[in-house]
């Protein structure tokens, strides 16, 4: 089955809400990838949220918000398998930031790094996003990385749905 058919088949297997997310995220991930490659970080960083040095933070969310956040993370994970362009942790994290903000779910966006001791790739960097006590994207292996920057959703003041 070629890639296009697989993408359509996967999208149609999801709930209606996640179908719409998948179809909207698909082209957006390409745009995000391009932006990450081309945009100076000092402009991109303003988009990530409010900077809080490299603090490790946890934002308070409701169960419903956490469930929605998990679905967003799962949809992004599925999307990663089907985009023809390379989607890395930064693209996933920015997509999550966009979708979480659209649903007014507060998040914490982390950037981290560690030294590998390998000459070919002396340092590795990673991005991950947390909602409440859960990591929505980028959670696999994140403990290996030291946090070097933390960005928090600007929704923090109005974080709990009634």
């Amino acid at each position: 089955m070629n890639r296009s058919l697989r993408v359509v088949k996967t999208a149609f297997g999801l709930s209606w809400r996640r179908k719409l997310w998948f179809l909207a995220m698909y082209p957006l991930s390409g745009l995000v990838r391009l932006t990450v490659l081309c945009a100076p970080f000092k402009y991109l960083s303003h988009f990530l949220g409010q900077h809080h040095r490299n603090y490790q933070l946890c934002v308070l969310v409701s169960d419903a918000q956490l469930q929605t956040a998990r679905e967003i993370g799962c949809t992004i994970a599925i999307l990663d398998k089907y985009t023809p362009w390379k989607t890395n942790c930064m693209v996933d994290a920015i997509l999550a930031r966009i979708w979480l903000s659209a649903y007014r779910i507060p998040y914490v966006f982390y950037l981290g790094a560690y030294l590998t001791k390998e000459a070919s790739e002396p340092m590795k960097a990673h991005a991950w996003v947390g909602v409440g006590s859960r990591l929505i994207v980028g959670g696999h292996g994140h403990q290996r990385y030291a946090i070097v920057s933390t960005f928090v959703s600007r929704l923090l003041a109005n974080s709990i749905e009634n």
Binding site: P40, F41, K42, L44, S45, H51, R53, N54, L111, G112, A113, Y114, L115, P122, M123, A125, Y145, A146, I147, V148, S149
Partner: protein, 92 residues
Amino acid sequence: MVDSDVKLLRSGDLIEADIDDDKVMMSVESGMYFGLNPVAARVWELLAQPRNMTEVVEVLTQEFDVDPDQCRSDVAHFIEQLNENKLISVQA
């Protein structure tokens, strides 16, 4: 080439994090990451106060088992890298 007698001070609004004995840093302005091994991390700590290269080498030769000439050469190289990346400034 940074002169060994001038006072140097680390600059730039870098965010630092220690991981094992290494230090990783990030500039939010440029998005660049920097990694320091334990000795480089110690030099970075020393440059939190104005110090010249000679003073840095003196501290390192006391704390590490290293030949002074080798240390001086390595520190000079590292200071040049910091200077190229605009991470240090010369103090008057």
